[in-house]
């Protein structure tokens, strides 16, 4: 085992992690630990754009953007955070441009902007052009630009270091951040990183669903590490299903396709979104569109022999426009479906896309230990975190924005904290938890296989905890997950080696997914209302009296070692916007 010492350690090198690293490296001795090479991170798969009220192509302002974000999140958004997001969006986009990001340009040479779901002029009057973009590769360009700037600044990366544990230690009756423990994939060696400040920026956890736009590697590693150390997870029941995933594969086809004029059609060729969202139509918020698609499918208007999908129709758009604005997604249709989008509609279905919930933080990125107290030295930003700017449903283009605004904030706050704080002593045998887990996996002779448990988990989550939920389906999911967690204790791997043991890696990742799936389902069972991405058929309406509050889930372990989940709630920060009925 090796011990390293840094002022600031950042876990994850996607958009949020690298944006944090750029700030933290200027201010403190910083290390970035990342499971993947930075440019492999899933920020690179984001397509459509980054919202900012630049008003480059039409009238717009950050106040409208704030309102849309709050309404999009079905009023579960913390309004102070949404205001920061929308205000700082403008400088965030300009900063990226100055770092070199090749945005598409207007004829005057300014950053071009396009329409996106839920973004509107003057509080819902009509769609507005707010998304700053680079073709349908905006996430790729952000990831590359941030990496380029990390290279420029000499940011220190530990590539293919998998962080498995968060080290906290009690000082004067308060738990403080001491560091993290990581497994070096190339060698199998354990490393303890002492740090005054730790920033979790390790991304989402969508891999507990089967049909998902998430990468294989999005397994909630940061959320699970915090959870196991007794820190809460906020609003985990809110998961976004993006309306347009490639049928059966889940590969994302950007909402920008509809922003450019694409239309959703059922088997009769009907533009069905007109029925569900008369003003915004195909550009209503994602939760609304995904439910509408499944309603069409359930009522027998789905396409194909099994009626299990609908079409994304781009055939009325000029091929030059598709080539210039949507080159990647049209290529995905050609590569994976053998379909020519110039002439044929693309079969799509909703795909599990984004965790609105995560590790609770305040607007400085400080992680909360409960409703009021922070964990000194611990920060989180991006999809792993819950600020909460996305509430019950995130608007498209607000996540690329979130990682830049709150990645930057967390990086600054962490480094400033590190420059005035002392190192916290390491807990006794700091590597013990990880060493034991790894040894247990390697030595286990159990009969259960990772692949089967993961498949069963994904199937129950897709069937029972997706776009439509009821008490019954969620209870079924919970029973399944409980049984799967029991089976997981008996899991064994075939690769017993040390070097690049991805068999071991997948087993550890599955452990994280199982724990987080349980949190999602338990939180969803208790939320007896429908709000944003959480739709309960047995409680189809929003209930502001009882549920205008964030879920805070805690892992509890009794004296006999039995685990349970305790739910608490946290008030929503409301400033200027009163909850209204949500119509698009």
């Amino acid at each position: 085992m090796q011990i390293h010492k840094y002022d600031t350690v950042i876990v994850g090198a996607g958009g949020a992690g690298m944006r944090a690293a750029i700030e933290a490296t200027k201010r403190s001795r910083t290390a970035v630990l990342t499971k993947l090479y930075p440019t492999r991170s899933h920020t690179g798969a984001a397509q459509g754009g980054m919202a900012a009220a630049l008003a480059n192509v039409e009238e717009d302002n950050w106040e409208w953007h704030t309102f849309d974000t709050i309404k999009g999140g079905d009023y579960l958004v913390d309004q102070d955070a949404a205001e920061i997001l929308a205000k700082e969006a403008i400088d965030s986009v300009l900063d990226l441009e100055k770092m070199g990001l090749p945005f598409n340009r207007t004829p005057e040479g300014r950053i071009d902007q396009r329409r996106f779901g839920g973004h509107s002029r003057n509080h819902g009057e009509a769609p507005v052009r707010r998304s700053c973009y680079a073709a349908d590769r905006t996430g790729h360009m952000i990831l590359q630009t941030l990496y380029q700037n990390c290279v420029k600044q000499g940011v220190e990366f530990f590539n293919e270091f998998y962080v498995l544990d968060l080290l906290l230690n009690e000082v004067d009756g308060q738990r403080r951040t001491a560091g993290v423990v990581a497994l070096e994939l190339a060698t199998g060696e354990l490393h303890v990183f002492r740090a005054k400040a730790v920033v979790f920026a390790s991304g989402g956890n969508g891999k507990f669903y089967k049909v998902t736009s998430n990468a294989h590697t999005l397994t909630g590693d940061g959320q699970a590490a915090a959870w196991r150390r007794g820190l809460p997870l906020e609003d985990m029941e809110f998961f976004q299903f993006h309306p347009t995933g490639i049928w059966r594969m889940g590969i994302l086809l950007t909402e920008g396709a509809r922003g450019e004029g694409g239309i959703l059609r059922n088997k009769d060729g009907e533009r069905f979104m007109e029925k569900y969202a008369p003003v915004m139509k195909d550009l209503a918020s994602r939760d609304v569109v995904s439910r509408s698609i499944y309603t069409e499918i359930r009522e027998g208007r789905g396409c194909g022999p099994e009626g299990d999908h609908v079409y994304l129709d781009l055939t009325h758009l000029p091929p030059e426009q598709l080539d210039a604005k949507l080159p990647d997604i049209t290529e995905f249709a050609r590569t994976y479906l053998g379909i020519e989008p110039y002439t044929d509609p693309i079969p799509i279905q909703p795909t599990a896309h984004y965790a609105m919930g995560g590790i609770p933080t305040n607007v400085q990125g400080e992680v909360l230990a409960n409703n009021t107290d922070v964990v000194p030295g611990l920060y989180a930003a991006g999809e792993v975190a819950c600020v909460s700017v996305h509430g019950a449903n995130r608007l498209g283009t607000n996540s690329l924005l979130d990682i830049n605004v709150f990645g930057r904030r967390a990086g600054i706050a962490a480094a400033e904290y590190a420059s005035r704080a002392e190192f916290v002593e390491l807990p006794e045998a700091p590597e013990k938890f990880v060493a034991d887990e790894v040894a247990r996996m390697r030595e286990s002779t159990g009969s259960e296989r990772v692949t089967e448990i993961r498949k069963d988990l994904q199937e129950t989550m897709d069937r029972n905890a997706m776009v439509f939920r009821t008490e019954q389906t969620l209870k079924e999911a919970l029973e399944d997950i409980t049984a799967l967690r029991r089976r997981y204790r008996n899991v064994s791997i075939q690769d017993k080696g040390r070097r690049f043991n991805t068999d071991l890696l997948e087993a550890l990742e599955l452990g994280n997914l199982l724990e987080l799936a349980e949190v999602l389902v338990v939180s969803a069972l208790a939320r007896k209302e429908s709000r944003g991405g959480h739709y309960r058929e047995d409680y189809p309406h929003r209930d502001d009296v009882n549920f205008m509050r964030h879920t805070m889930a805690y892992r509890e372990v009794d004296s006999e070692g039995n685990e349970s989940i305790r739910l608490d709630y946290k008030p929503v920060v409301q400033t200027r916007y009163q909850p209204m009925e949500r119509k698009y």
């Binding site: 986009v93 300009l94 441009e97 945005f103 294989h216 590569t335 692949t451």
Partner: protein, 259 residues
């Protein structure tokens, strides 16, 4: 009522009739077991519309958990799974079985060969050491360099100026090009196509003011002049970047000293 779900794998039709039997012939190497690499065959039933990556997953998940490869996004944007498949560099997640297997009576007539990309040290099975590749990338100053005060708003750039370097912005650093280059194979000191592509991306960006510095770096004996325009890199690029053309444009800029 639950959300309607699909119990079949991606791209699969009803029943198993659509499955074909193919052999994956994979180059295996595990220094913890042996210092010799060897070939191993795996036979599997697979939907021809699935990806080579799906086949590798089937092997890893159902037959041999020790098979080791990198992958993440599984749809051609993260650049993790560049491999040599049937003798050509490709991304395993962008290569469909039907496009590379010759099928007869529901069987592949020849094995699908899968090897690590060449010219880099193999660490285990299909995983290679990427550090020298990223070092060459870092050496060409792959970031925007400007002088003077920053404007308060964005720098202006005409759509034509933006289009000038569009092709090379698509690079995902998968190394498929560099590891297909015979010059790179014979001399690891050569920057390789990917580093030159990333230099091109800035040399031809109207906002950048360090083209001269990058051109000097690439004027080195291990720079662009080593390129013999074999076009392997262009053929290998999973993003469709005209790599050889970009290298030629850098050469021309060096000769004319005009960007």
């Amino acid at each position: 009522m639950a959300t309607p779900t699909l119990d079949k794998p991606a791209g699969a039709e009803a029943g198993a009739d659509h499955l074909v039997t193919v052999t994956f012939r994979i180059r295996r190497f595990n220094p913890e077991v042996s210092d010799q690499a060897s070939w191993q065959d795996f036979e599997l039933a697979i939907d021809p519309k699935e990806r080579v990556l799906d086949g590798l997953h089937k092997i890893k998940w159902e037959i041999d958990g020790t098979l080791t490869f990198r992958r993440s996004c599984a749809h051609g944007v993260c650049g993790s799974d560049a491999m040599r498949i049937n003798g050509r560099n490709r991304l395993a997640c962008k290569t469909l079985i039907k496009d590379i297997a010759v099928l007869k009576d529901g069987r592949g007539t020849k094995p699908i060969t899968v090897e690590p990309i060449q010219g880099m040290t193999v660490l285990k099975d299909l995983v290679v050491d990427m550090e020298p590749f990223f070092q060459a990338y870092r050496d060409v100053l792959p970031f925007l360099i400007t002088e003077g005060n920053e404007p308060s708003r964005e720098r202006l750039q005409s759509p034509a100026d933006r289009a000038r370097f569009d092709d090379t912005t698509k690079c995902i650093l998968c190394a498929a090009c560099t590891s297909s280059c015979p010059i790179y194979w014979s001399d690891g000191q050569y920057f390789g196509p990917a580093a030159i592509v990333n230099a091109h991306r800035f040399i031809f960006d109207s906002r950048d003011e360090a083209a001269e510095r990058r051109l000097e770096i690439l004027n080195d004996r291990d720079g662009v002049w080593r390129c013999r325009t074999t076009f392997n890199c262009t053929d290998a690029c999973p993003r469709g970047i005209e790599v050889t053309k970009a290298i030629q444009e850098v050469k021309r800029a060096l000769v004319t000293r005009r960007v």
